[in-house]
Each structure stands twice: as structure tokens, then as C-alpha cells.
């Protein structure tokens, strides 16, 4: 039976390889959560969609768990796909192993730096987007207290928190920022019940605007905020539509731009390896104003946010980065 099964598998693989060996179209490997996660991966998928709408073809793979990453990347590379785009910091290790074995293939990774001659790494200045979020939260708050619910207790989330605090203080100096991390395992990104409870705790302490930087946990944060009649704030994708009129804005991370950018560059033959750092200046981070939150954003808030974007872009406002600049001073 075992021999029969492995024979069948081998045959299927052979057929599969034979039919796909000549493909040279680009490929993308989404992180755990899948391309419809309403957040990070979906943003990457938006980039793929934009590329497809212009006639491009992209192969896709959705990771079920981190350990599949190595195999997925290697499969795409060995079938001649180029560039192969890895989404998420958790794929960095796998890409670091695969990239040297396929020196002719172009690779890209989002949210992490992989130092190889054929890899383009995209990283985002989350703190700059968070600054805008903090600024708007500080202006929208009537109580003078705002909240932050983070996911897993990792530097990237602290970077976001610090930017948020800095922005809030820029809006009003006496602002009080309550902050909670959900946990210290990856499960902290998928615990909406605890997220909601943390948000309710902050609301009871007076917070009237709460930002989530917690992936799936954040769904619970936004829900609790909407239930209790205070404002939530989304991240990564546009989450304004989750609770129209109850989400102040969403701080977007333009993974879609990074993905589209590398697909288009490869198509034009201008793909270059190296590190790309995206912030508000180049549209890598932005905030969303649409029909769901247009009544929440006053003209003054809009002006202040746009002024902050301009100030960060030209360098007159420097947002603290806890990863490179040390502990958060706010």
C-alpha cells in the first residue's frame, strides 16, 4: 500500500512538474492567515490584483504554518518563477536558505531584511504611520485619554506604540496613553476575546479612542470600542468599513505597493536587489479617509494629519524608532 501510494504521488508530481516546468511568471507566498485575512496579507493580495488587472499573471501559495515556507519558496524557484515574493517576517529564515541556491532567481521579502545579492527587502517605518494615528487620536479624544492594544510583545509593536505616543503628545501635551500587549506568543495575534477585554479595561479607565496593532486580536478591540460607543482605529488594511462611523481611521501599511512595485519592476526588467525602506514620505504608510469615517475627521484634523505627513516627509519631524534609537522617551 505504501509503495503504491508513493508511486502515485511520484507520478502525480512528475506530471505536475512536466506541465509547469516552463513557467516563468512571478510567484508570491502569503504568510499564515491567508490572503483574505482582512489585514496584512490582504494588502499584499491587493498588489497582486492590481498587477493582474493589467494583464500580468502571478502564481500564489498561502502558508498554513511557518514550516511550509521553505518548501513553497523552493518549489516556485525551481520551477523558474521570478521574482518570488515572500510576505511576512516569519519567512525570512526560509528565504535566507533558498535564495543562495537559486542565484539566477529574483526574490523579494516584505517586513524583514534578508541580506543576499538576489533579494530585495521591503521594510516599513511603522512608527511614522503610528505617529499620524496618535495625532488624530489625540485630536479626536474628548477625555484626554487614549488607548493602544498591541498583539505579541515584540519590538515591531513597541515601535508602533512609541510613534503613536509621540503623535498623541504632538496633538496635546497632557494626553494620557494607556497601552496593553495581549501576550508574548504568536497566539496574541489571534485572541479577540482578550483584545476586547483589554479594550474594555482601557475604556473603563477613560480612553475614548483606541488603536489596535494586534492582527486578529484587533477585531475584538474594534468590536469592543464600537459596542461601548468609543472610537477604534484600524491598522495594516483599511478597516474603516468594519464598523462604519465607529472607526476613526485606519493606518495602512502599503504592502500592496511593495508587491506591485516588485512585480512591475521585474516585468520591466528593472528589478534590483537591496533594502527598500518605506515610510509616509513615499506612501509606504498612510491614513485612510473614506465615506465610512468622513464625519469623524474634522477639517482641522485632516489639515493637521496632512501637515504631519509633509513634516515627516521633509524631515522637520523625526519620529522615534525604538528598534534603532533605543527606549521610547514618551
Amino acid at each position: 500500500m505504501l509503495r503504491f501510494t508513493s508511486g502515485v504521488i511520484a507520478a502525480v508530481c512528475a506530471v505536475f512538474v512536466a506541465t509547469t516546468a516552463s513557467v516563468a511568471e512571478p510567484a508570491i507566498v502569503y504568510s499564515v492567515g491567508g490572503k483574505f485575512d482582512g489585514s496584512f496579507n490582504e494588502s499584499a493580495f491587493a498588489g497582486v490584483k492590481r498587477f493582474r488587472d493589467q494583464g500580468g499573471a502571478v502564481r500564489e501559495f498561502e502558508l498554513d504554518r511557518d514550516s511550509q515556507s521553505l518548501q513553497a519558496l523552493r518549489n516556485f524557484a525551481s520551477r523558474g518563477a521570478s521574482p518570488v515574493i515572500a510576505i511576512g517576517f516569519n519567512q525570512a529564515n526560509a528565504l535566507g536558505q533558498v535564495a543562495p541556491k537559486f542565484p539566477e532567481t529574483d526574490f523579494a521579502i516584505v517586513d524583514m531584511v534578508v541580506d543576499q545579492p538576489n533579494v530585495r527587502s521591503y521594510v516599513f517605518k511603522e512608527q511614522e504611520g503610528a505617529y499620524i494615528g496618535g495625532l488624530l487620536a489625540g485630536m479626536a479624544s474628548k477625555s484626554g485619554t487614549i488607548g493602544f492594544v498591541g498583539g505579541m510583545d515584540i519590538p515591531i509593536i513597541h515601535r508602533f506604540l512609541c510613534g503613536y505616543k509621540q503623535g498623541a503628545q504632538a496633538a496635546r501635551a497632557d494626553i494620557r496613553v494607556l497601552s496593553n500587549m495581549t501576550g508574548d506568543t504568536p497566539a496574541a495575534f489571534a485572541d479577540p476575546v482578550r483584545g476586547g477585554e483589554l479594550a474594555i479595561g482601557q475604556i473603563n479607565q477613560g480612553a475614548d479612542v483606541i488603536i489596535q496593532a494586534a492582527g486578529g486580536t484587533g477585531i475584538g478591540v474594534l468590536q469592543a470600542a464600537a459596542d461601548k460607543g468609543v472610537l477604534g482605529m484600524g491598522t495594516d488594511s483599511n478597516q474603516n468599513g468594519l464598523h462604519p462611523g465607529k472607526v476613526l481611521t485606519s493606518i495602512r501599511k502599503r504592502v500592496d505597493n511593495a508587491v506591485y512595485d516588485s512585480l512591475q519592476a521585474a516585468k520591466d526588467g528593472t528589478f534590483e536587489p537591496g533594502i527598500k525602506v518605506l515610510g509616509v514620505a513615499d506612501g509606504g504608510m498612510d491614513w485612510v479617509l473614506d465615506e465610512n469615517n468622513k464625519d469623524l475627521i474634522t477639517p482641522e484634523m485632516k489639515a493637521a494629519a496632512n501637515a504631519a505627513v509633509a513634516a515627516i516627509s521633509d524631515g522637520s519631524v523625526k519620529v522615534h524608532d525604538v528598534v534603532t534609537d533605543g527606549a521610547c522617551p514618551f
Binding site: F36, D37, G38, D184, D191, P192
Partner: protein
């Protein structure tokens, strides 16, 4: 200060409810001699069933029934493996946990295409908070107002159901014929069998009761406390409930206090995070997260005495044939 205490206790009640329901579920099963470490999986399956059906029908009650049905289905699988086929109950329980974790994510992704989530529930698809009569009027009365309006009022119906289930479980187990037999079958199934009562049928009824309560616990997570199912949303609550069950020495009232204690620790952990305590400084949040487990060990080792499980727990019953 008083307000902080009330708000923490309020949070305790919300956080204890799923633990309490799951703990009582485990109580029925283990009292009948079927060890159940599949509480987590059953809760997760129920949370998914409830979330999916409540989204599709827009009716929280139908969602609750669906959640219970899923959970009872999983409980029957456990029963079939461990009662009818006399398999290892631990292995079967672990299998249920894996099955639920995998299936909910897979089905959720296939049906709703949102990364294993169910979409946000429509109005009416959730159990909303119930404001008890006169809660608003009494809010400003000192002490009583805080206790009545904040602590007792403003929970959803499943919270009240969970706390009503405690005396009910006590009554069923210790004041009815069914309860007597259920306890007997967990201690000495041979004696029950000799008296002409079916061990198999009794144990099946126990796991069905377990499934039903786990179903309510799961539904509470997805359609009462939050709005929709999210992958792995039980986050280990089934295992905490199991610890609470041991802690409570398999008694309903103790179970309630154990779950309230664990809920309280969780609530305190949320409040204390990042706060400085005079004289001590900031306490790492990991300390509070580990506390339920540490407390179980310490209290079991020294304070509450030996927790003796039902004698026949974990042992499949094999009728001797001549």
C-alpha cells in the same frame, strides 16, 4: 478605589464564564468516568459552529443551538471511541482537539474566505448585554449602585446561564437518581452494572451533557463576547477549565470559585499590566499569566489537600463475560 475593584470584578465575571461552562462540562464527563481533555476542541468547534450559523441566519439562538450541536457531535465521537470501543480517553481527547483546530480553520477558509474567520455578525446575531431593571436609576447609589449596576447588570444571558448552571449541576448530581448513578458509574461501574443499569448509556448521557455545556461555552466566545469566530479563539481556555476542575476536586460549587479565581487573576493581569505598584515596582505580566498554573500546583500541593479523581476515571469499562 472601590470603582476599580468593581470594574475588575465585572471583568472577572465576563472572563470566568467560558471557564465555568467548560469546567462544569468536564465535571459531568469525568464524574461518569470519562476523562475529557477535549474540552478545548469542543469549545472551538462550538465557537465556529455558532459563529458561522449566527452569521448566516442572523439569529443568536439558532447560532447557540448550532454550536451545541457541533460540540455534542464531537462529544459523541469521543464517547464512541472511549466508551463503545474502549479506546484510550487521553488519545481520543487529543484527537478531538486537533480535529477541531484543523477543521474550523479549513472550513472557515473554504466557506468565508477570510483567513479562517467568520464575517462580523449582523445585528441580532449576537447575545447583547441585558440591563437589569432599575440598573440605571440605582447607578448613583453608593456601594449598592456600583455592585448592582456594574457587577450584576449588563451581562449577556449566557453569563447568567453559566452561574445558574452551578446550583443546577449540584442538584442534578447530588439530588437526583440520575446523578447518583452518574457518580456511581465513575467510582465503580461494575456495581452499577450489577444493579442492572447500563454503564454505556449512562456514560453516553454524561458526555452529551458535557458536549452541550461546552457548546454554550464556545458560543459565548464567538457570538456573545465577541462578534464572530476567529481561528484558535479558545486560546487554551479548555485547559484552564480542566485545571480548575482538578482544583475544585470535581465539585460544582468549588468549580465556580476556582473559575472565578482564574478569571480574577486574568482580569487583574489585564489591569496590572504596565502599572507600578508602590514599593514593588512594575510586575511583569508573564507573572500573572503563569499564576493560574502556579496556583494550581501550590494550592493542590499544600492547601486544599489531595484532589482525588473519580475512581474509575480514565478506565474503559469492560463487562466481564464468563
Amino acid at each position: 478605589m472601590f470603582e476599580i475593584v468593581i470594574l475588575t470584578l465585572d471583568s472577572t465575571v465576563r472572563l470566568s464564564t467560558p471557564l465555568l461552562l467548560a469546567c462544569l462540562a468536564g465535571l459531568y464527563s469525568e464524574r461518569s468516568g470519562v476523562v475529557d481533555i477535549g474540552l478545548e476542541g469542543k469549545m472551538l468547534g462550538a465557537a465556529f459552529g455558532a459563529g458561522a450559523v449566527a452569521y448566516l441566519t442572523g439569529n443568536a439562538w439558532i447560532g447557540l443551538l448550532a454550536g451545541m450541536a457541533v460540540s455534542i457531535g464531537l462529544a459523541l465521537i469521543h464517547g464512541f471511541a472511549s466508551i463503545t470501543n474502549r479506546g484510550n480517553q487521553i488519545v481520543s481527547g487529543v484527537a478531538i482537539n486537533f480535529l477541531a483546530a484543523g477543521l474550523t480553520a479549513l472550513l472557515g477558509q473554504t466557506w468565508f474566505r477570510q483567513g479562517g474567520r467568520t464575517p462580523s455578525l449582523p445585528e441580532g446575531g449576537r447575545f447583547r448585554d441585558i440591563i437589569l431593571p432599575y440598573a440605571e436609576e440605582l447607578r448613583d447609589v453608593p456601594v449598592i449602585g456600583g455592585i448592582y449596576s456594574e457587577l450584576l447588570s449588563g451581562h449577556n444571558i449566557l453569563v447568567y446561564a453559566a452561574f445558574v448552571a452551578v446550583p443546577l449541576t449540584w442538584w442534578v448530581l447530588f439530588r437526583t437518581r440520575f446523578g447518583l448513578r452518574l457518580r456511581a458509574v465513575g467510582e465503580n461501574p461494575a456495581a452499577v452494572d450489577t444493579a442492572g443499569i447500563s454503564v454505556t448509556w449512562l456514560r453516553y448521557r454524561a458526555v452529551i451533557a458535557c458536549g452541550a455545556l461546552c457548546g454554550v461555552a464556545g458560543a459565548y466566545l464567538s457570538i456573545a463576547q465577541s462578534s464572530g469566530f476567529i481561528k484558535d479563539m479558545t486560546a487554551g481556555k479548555g485547559f484552564i477549565a480542566l485545571a480548575a476542575l482538578i482544583f475544585a476536586k470535581w465539585k460544582p460549587a468549588n468549580a465556580m470559585f476556582a473559575c472565578l479565581l482564574f478569571g480574577f487573576l486574568d482580569a487583574v493581569a489585564i489591569r496590572m499590566q504596565g502599572q507600578k505598584i508602590p514599593g514593588i515596582g512594575e510586575i511583569p505580566v508573564q507573572f500573572f499569566q503563569a499564576l493560574p498554573y502556579i496556583l494550581t500546583v501550590i494550592l493542590l500541593a499544600g492547601f486544599i489537600g489531595k484532589a482525588i479523581p473519580p475512581k474509575a476515571a480514565g478506565i474503559p469499562y469492560l463487562k466481564e463475560r464468563s
